[in-house]
């Protein structure tokens, strides 16, 4: 049984890492990163079987693909806190000669990253390919893929959704971050998704819903997703989150999608997030 309090403590540190990385670099995407922090902590510290001595082929371990690559400060923090690379390296986020590029990439050999992402809409296709390789390799582990909700506007996502349903790629769990915000405003204003879960279901997916900022619910839903694997349907989790979760002035607004806080606002964020594992 997962220790929920411990997961929450890790998530608090991860949120500090996110804000501090973005403030350090004076650039980056804190809003969506904060919103998805609970999910990634639950995945890496509870749900997934994975090896921090990173192996690209990932045989007999679960794989994670981040399709909305702009929330890289979250992923970097979780990878570092999991042990993939030294926590101190978070200091290099978005700096020259860093492995921690603005958007995640394999190019500089950062452990934990298998394919570059950032140009939206591509991650689910890559995750499907990885899931098919696991099938061919008789590897029973799962492939997880996180996408943004704005990203669902990309046509390639629906090519992938259609393919996974038709081909019963049932070792795949796709999670969509429903923070309802994108750069130009709310999705409702820009290009609404309607009943997204119903659309996935219509393509043959099993659809779960969860509050992505409730750790108990995240852990339980990820378990449920695993129990549904291998039953002929890919699994989609419609995950409601609050953009900027944990930092009061960033919550519920798209203004902090891709903007760094100044020193005073960073200090204010630090007051709201407990330092549980020691800052980088």
């Amino acid at each position: 049984m997962a220790d929920i309090a411990q997961l929450k403590a890790v998530a608090s540190q991860v949120r500090r890492d996110i804000v501090r990385q973005v403030a350090n670099a004076n650039s980056g995407h804190p809003g969506g990163s904060l919103g998805c922090a609970d999910l990634l902590v639950a995945l890496y510290f509870d749900s997934m079987t994975h090896h921090t001595d990173f192996r690209m082929e990932g045989h007999h371990e679960d794989m994670f693909y981040l399709s909305n690559g702009h929330i890289s400060p979250l992923w970097y923090s979780v990878l570092a806190r999991s042990g993939y690379f030294p926590v101190a390296e978070l200091n290099t986020f978005r700096q020259l000669n860093s492995r921690l590029q603005g958007h995640p990439t394999t190019h500089e050999g950062l452990p934990g990253v298998r394919t570059a992402s950032g140009s939206l809409g591509q991650g689910l296709s890559v995750a499907i390919g990885a899931a098919l390789a696991k099938r061919l390799n008789n590897d029973p582990q799962l492939v997880f893929c996180l996408m943004g909700d704005g990203e669902q506007q990309e046509g390639q996502v629906w090519e992938a959704v259609m393919f996974a349903g038709h081909n019963k790629v049932d070792n795949l769990v796709a999670i969509v971050d429903r923070n309802n915000q994108q750069i130009d405003g709310s999705l409702d204003e820009v290009l609404g998704l309607g009943d997204l879960g119903a659309k996935y279901a219509a393509f043959g997916w099993e659809v779960l819903r969860m509050d992505g900022n409730n750790m108990e619910e995240v852990v339980a839903t990820l378990r449920q997703a695993r129990s549904l694997a291998g039953k002929g349907k890919p699994i989609m989790i419609d995950m409601k989150t609050e953009m900027g979760k944990g930092v009061d002035y960033m919550e519920g607004t798209h203004k902090w999608h891709g903007k760094a806080p100044d020193a005073a606002l960073t200090a204010r964020a630090m007051e709201q997030l407990a330092e549980t594992l020691g800052d980088f």
Binding site: E57, G58, T106, H107, A116, S125, V126, G129, A130, L132
Partner: protein
């Protein structure tokens, strides 16, 4: 040496691709993907024999490229198959991010390239694909010239780690490389000569052979080189030839911008400047027609190569 180069019959380069896939099909790592063009790409045998390693994505090329990248992550050697247009321009960003930048071991196999696609017309006759793929860091770009070379190239890229673009075509075409070696990145020297270098790739290699024979009959000695691998370019072979002849012609079924001619010109201008004539499409789109009619109308015929060679020689001054 030129006289020894004879056509042994005609088959399409895409059939050579199919034969290459058949030759490597038993390799458990090989996975073949298509976006609704299995018949055109000649992969029916593979589908029949290894259905578990065949992926049909439907008419969804972007998804196919992503799936290929993911398969490569799992240790597979994915071969994507569709027309050249849909293998490159349509999915450039998918290739750029998920395959090239991520350095995935994906083989992008593209048929129906160039004007010789024929009657389907300009929408499908991509003439920009070599340039697009050549610009991607780390991408190997190969444009074989006949059935045998395409088969050999297909087998070779399976053994080569890293992203590859393999470009071939639709029409039946003279075959003449059955007994010739194929090594990625190594130019194939077809004939020794001293007056002019002719570098050719893809279908135009046969046209260049015809041109070299005609020139020889007029007493003009051609150093004839088949550049099947446009990237990485065999710079040593290019320079050795141009140092000997002092002028050159590049021949390709591609726009004059971005293709073989430009690749060679970069090397020549930096190392041994010499007059160069391009036999290539003059920055225009194609149209419907028979392959030979199109090659003639767009300046890619044997006669065009002969004229270009004479012009290059005249420019030596």
């Amino acid at each position: 040496m030129l006289d020894n180069i004879q056509s042994t019959g005609k088959k399409a380069t895409r059939d050579g691709f199919g034969a290459g896939i058949d030759a490597i099909a038993a390799n458990e790592k090989v996975v073949v993907l298509t976006a609704d063009l299995a018949g055109s790409l000649k992969i029916e045998n593979f589908i029949a024999n290894y259905p578990e390693r065949y992926v049909q994505t439907g008419i969804a090329e972007a998804n196919m490229m992503g799936i290929a990248a993911g398969l490569a992550n799992g240790g597979k050697i994915p071969f994507t198959t569709t027309f050249a247009n849909f293998s490159t321009g349509r999915v450039y960003d998918q290739i750029r991010q998920s395959i090239a930048y991520s350095h995935k071991n994906v083989k992008i196999c593209a048929s129906h390239a160039g004007l010789t696609l024929g009657e389907d017309g300009a929408t499908h006759q991509i003439l920009e694909d070599i340039g697009l793929m050549r610009m991607l860091p780390g991408m190997t770009v190969i444009n074989p010239c006949d059935f045998h070379q395409t088969q050999a190239a297909t087998m070779a890229i399976a053994e080569h780690h890293g992203p590859c673009y393999l470009r071939f075509g639709r029409p039946s075409w003279p075959m003449f490389t059955a007994d010739m070696p194929f090594v990625i990145g190594k130019a194939l020297h077809l004939s020794e000569g001293s007056d002019v270098s002719i570098f050719a790739t893809g279908h135009l290699v046969w046209k260049a052979v015809e041109a070299a024979k005609a020139l020889a009959a007029e007493g003009i000695s051609v150093d004839l080189i088949n550049i099947h691998t446009i990237k990485p370019l065999d710079e040593a072979a290019v320079l050795a030839s141009v140092r000997k002849t002092g002028c050159l012609v590049s021949c390709e079924e591609h726009n004059r911008y971005g293709g073989l001619g430009d690749a060679i010109a970069q090397v020549v201008v930096n190392n041994h400047p010499a007059p160069q004539e391009y036999v290539a499409v003059n920055d225009t789109f194609g149209e419907s027609g028979e392959p030979e009619q199109l090659l003639e109308k767009y300046g890619l015929s044997t006669e065009n190569i002969i004229a270009a060679a004479k012009k290059a020689i005249a420019r030596k001054g």
